[in-house]
């Protein structure tokens, strides 16, 4: 938290140092005040109020213009209800709305649902829907669309939907503007899964009774959002034009949003520097350039807006075969990795040390605890060596203990550097590691289908709730050969299963947090994974662009309030 606050504070100082503008703009003001805790409530105010505050500060949004963003890589489809591939989430929410939006503490804000009420027993949620909302084809949006989207689409064909909506038995529609979720058991995580990005609201009249994947509207989406889909020139761009009948009167500000696809990182950076592109999220501009640009006059570099992703960099052990079936060996490696070094030298400072399976992002909700076995102690290398001796792997005459193959997750250059770093650290411990770098499909098959590996690097998003993002890596029922990003270490513990299963349906926040605290202690002790760092993605955007990052889902939201200074 401290370093984030500093970063924002620095930004403000840097800004006010510029002669073009002394006033702190509203977005920064909200970010800073929310983070500094100056006014705890402000992040929770509905956007109209915050907007009014901004206008009072003399920052009147300007209408018109085109927002050109770069999306990397090109999305495979626009069917965000069926495919959660990263780049899809950057464009689809411009067209589709969700029931809810979120503030930076992950608390729900009104979306298509203007209010909601969770039943006393936690087994029903009543949503009051915004009235007078129309889809881009002119048909009204009603509770029937909510029912259809949840029950027939998301719960059935969404990659994470079956988990998010596992307890939803029915969606009742007493009238056109009321939708009541009926749950088998309480599902506290459900309220975190209703954004436009995670659970888009689809037009029933265009999808019902059709083959969802091959429906023509899969790639020509019709939603209720601020921008209408116009065209997709493959390999080139996607174009979205302003929806004049958007239900938030007066919004959006931009006439058009264009998503461009540029394969080469250096070119993306050049396009931003030259102002051809105004917005690039998810490290589309690589960290090495982001670092350089962070002092530039044209663009701003920020790590805000990924709070609902909460990605964690990990080293995963194959806990079913030697030598990593031994807890002491795993712990030894957890001790040996210098998290600070990795962050500073491999990720250019864009990250925070991780302490366990739940990201410190969840501090605000009380779920996170740092009270676990800590590996960042001064004499960690000595402890690591001692643990390896105790585990029955003493150094041989040539100074080595054993040999392994270290697989590298195939997501780019940083991961290779990280692999080389791990190799060096292991060598210090007397473990000879050879590196293996394969392409994505091959690597996924190796780790999550064939389990043919010793130690691999990996990264997982822990999302907005442990049930959605964390549970899958530690639950015994999440050992599912052929399904990527689940329990690939195949480590299990009956107690952890029990904790995860009871936490998933525990409506009481305090009790639920206690269950997750115990879960963190147990898993860190067993170390089936080395939690290295909480990855911070960077967004690079033009200084003239305002109010693009107003949510923990930033680029995965609609940009209805974003505007460009003249």
């Amino acid at each position: 938290m401290a370093d984030r606050t500093e970063k924002v504070a620095e930004d403000i100082v840097a800004d006010s140092g510029q002669d073009e503008r002394f006033a702190i703009d509203r977005r920064r003001f909200i970010q800073a005040s929310g983070l500094l805790g100056l006014s705890a409530g402000i992040a929770g105010v509905p956007f109209e109020a915050a907007w009014a505050a901004g206008e009072a500060a003399g920052d009147t949004p300007r209408k018109g213009g085109t927002l050109v963003m770069v999306v990397q890589p090109e999305p495979p489809t626009l069917a965000s209800y069926n495919n959660t591939s990263g780049p899809i989430g950057q464009v689809a929410p411009k067209v589709y709305d969700g029931l809810l939006e979120y503030d930076f503490n992950l608390n729900p804000l009104p979306g298509l649902a203007k209010s909601w009420d969770v039943g006393a027993d936690g087994k029903s949620v009543t949503f009051k829907l915004e009235e007078g909302v129309r889809f881009h084809d002119g048909k009204p949006f009603t509770s029937a669309d909510v029912q259809y989207s949840i029950m027939e689409v998301l719960k059935k064909v969404h990659p994470r939907g079956p988990t998010s909506f596992q307890e939803v038995e029915a969606v009742d529609t007493p009238d056109a503007h009321t939708a009541i979720f009926r749950l088998k058991r309480p599902a506290p995580y459900l309220m975190k899964a209703l954004s436009a990005y995670e659970s888009p609201m689809l037009p029933k009249h265009l999808f019902a009774g059709t083959d969802l994947q091959n429906n023509p509207h899969a790639n020509q989406p019709v939603g209720t959002g601020p921008f209408k889909f116009v065209e997709w020139r493959r390999g080139q761009l996607m174009r979205f034009d302003r929806n004049p009948d958007y239900w938030r009167k007066g919004l959006p500000y931009f006439d058009r949003v264009v998503a461009r696809f540029i394969g080469e990182a250096q070119t993306r950076t050049a396009a931003l520097e030259r102002g051809e592109v105004a917005f690039a999220a998810y490290n589309a501009v690589p960290n090495v350039d982001a670092k350089r640009l962070s002092t530039s006059r044209e663009v701003i570099v920020t790590t805000k807006g990924y709070e609902m992703d909460a990605p964690v960099v990990e080293l995963e052990f194959n806990t079913t075969r030697k030598p990593f079936d031994n807890q002491k060996v795993r712990q030894a490696i957890a001790y040996a990795i210098d998290r600070k070094f990795v962050i500073d030298n491999i990720w250019f400072g864009y990250g925070k040390p991780a302490t366990g399976p739940i990201s410190s992002n969840f501090k605000g909700t009380g779920m996170y605890t740092a009270d676990v076995l800590r590996f960042d102690v001064p004499n960690r290398m000595a402890i690591a060596n001692k643990l390896l001796d105790e585990a029955g792997y003493p150094r041989k005459a040539d100074g080595t203990r054993f040999e392994i193959v270290h697989d590298i997750t195939p997501y780019g250059e940083e991961w290779r550097r990280f692999g080389e770093y791990v190799q060096q650290v292991l060598q210090e411990l007397g473990i000879k590691a050879s590196l293996r770098y394969e392409d994505v499909a091959t690597w996924i098959r190796r780790i999550y289908t064939n389990y043919d590996y010793d130690l691999t690097s990996d990264w997982l998003k822990t999302f907005a709730d442990p049930v959605i993002g964390v549970q899958r890596q530690y639950w015994s029922k999440a050992i599912r050969p052929g399904t990527p990003w689940v329990n690939g270490t195949r480590w299990t513990s009956p107690r952890v299963d029990e904790l995860l299963e009871s936490a998933a349906i525990e409506p009481d926040v305090k009790k639920r947090n206690a269950l997750y605290h115990e879960f963190q202690k147990l898993t860190v002790e067993a170390s089936p994974i080395v939690w290295v760092m909480e990855l911070e993605f960077t967004t690079v955007y033009n200084r003239k662009l305002q109010d693009a990052i107003v949510s923990p889902l930033a680029v995965n939201t609609s940009f209805d309030r974003a505007w460009m200074k003249a």
Partner: protein
């Protein structure tokens, strides 16, 4: 001519079958990649995907279905993109041919001209300078040349856009659009041309020098023709043959080489599509691209034969 065309049919079929077999060697399938990109999926979702892609059928059935479709000019469906392969390729064919065509014309014309100049002034400073330049542009990696051109002409001088095929903030129509696309075409075409131009310069120079020593040149001189007329009328026609041969062979390579240029300049061509579909294990699309590329190579080779015929009447087209 007709016979040549008919001969191409079995060739293309063999290529299609070979392509299919080679692709099967890559581990992992499209469902793995899709689920991977999604950051997770349920087993039911995976089974459903595999069934929909036809990946749960045996390889022989898959091959049989593919060959049958190719015979009916049906390139199949790209499940990843949710579009027929034919449409996907057609969208990309235009930009690819534009880039390829410009590059071929530009590099051959310039290569032949520079080769001619170098040969005419052999072992002088002009020849040496051209040799050094062509060696440099031949040996420099394409992506580096591309990035440097962007750095100089887009960032520093601001003459050309960094990337893309047209201005997306404007969406021009009519002639403005043509001009806009031409403006965007300059840097990628130049990057790709430099490499091939260098090659043709060297080739042309060598061929010219070789032809100068031939008996017919002596004969022409004996007839009292000027050196200039001998060079342009007799030697050039003979010397350009190897260049044309080389260009024909390189069409395939040009498709591949443009992957790099397309990536650097965000040019929506077919090379990039092939590259992406390989990593996505989008087998149908990849096979479709291979097939269309094979067809292109066959057609271009036919064209090359026609050019031979025009340049050298001794060669007959049968």
């Amino acid at each position: 001519m007709l016979r040549r065309l008919l001969q191409a049919v079995p060739t293309l079929l063999v290529i299609a079958v070979l392509n299919f077999c080679v692709i099967q060697l890559a581990p992992g399938d499209a469902a793995d990649v899709l689920a991977g990109e999604s950051g997770g999926a349920t087993p039911e979702y995976m089974t459903q995907l595999r069934h929909r892609f036809g990946l749960d059928r045996s390889k022989f059935v898959q091959l049989a279905v593919y060959v049958k479709n190719v015979l009916g000019f049906d390139l199949g469906y790209s499940f990843r993109d949710g579009m027929p392969v034919r449409e996907l390729i057609l969208q990309r064919l235009g930009p690819t041919l534009l880039l390829m065509g410009t590059t071929i014309v530009f590099s051959i014309v310039l290569g032949v001209f520079l080769g001619l100049v170098a040969a005419a002034h052999v072992n002088t400073w002009r020849d040496n300078l051209l040799s050094v330049l062509s060696l440099l542009s031949y040996a420099t990696p394409l992506f580096w040349v591309g990035l440097m051109l962007i750095g100089v002409f887009s960032l520093k001088l601001g003459w050309f856009p960094t990337s893309g095929m047209e201005s997306v903030a404007a969406f021009y129509e009519g002639w403005d659009r043509v001009v806009d696309i031409a403006h965007h075409l300059v840097l990628p075409a130049l990057t790709l041309s430099l490499f091939y131009m260098a090659l043709y310069t060297r080739l042309m120079r060598a061929a010219m020098l070789e032809q100068w020593g031939m008996d017919y040149v002596t004969t022409a001189r004996a007839k009292g023709l000027t050196e200039r007329r001998i060079a342009l009328r007799h030697v050039l026609r003979n010397a350009v043959l190897p260049v044309v041969t080389m260009a024909g062979v390189q069409i395939g390579a040009l498709l591949g080489g443009s992957v790099v240029v397309e990536t650097v300049f965000g040019w929506p061509g077919m090379g990039l599509l092939a590259f992406q579909s390989l990593f996505a294990r989008d087998v149908n699309l990849l096979l479709g691209i291979f097939f269309v590329s094979a067809c292109l190579v066959v057609v271009v080779n036919l064209l090359v034969d026609l050019v031979y015929f025009a340049l050298d009447p001794r060669i007959e087209v049968r």
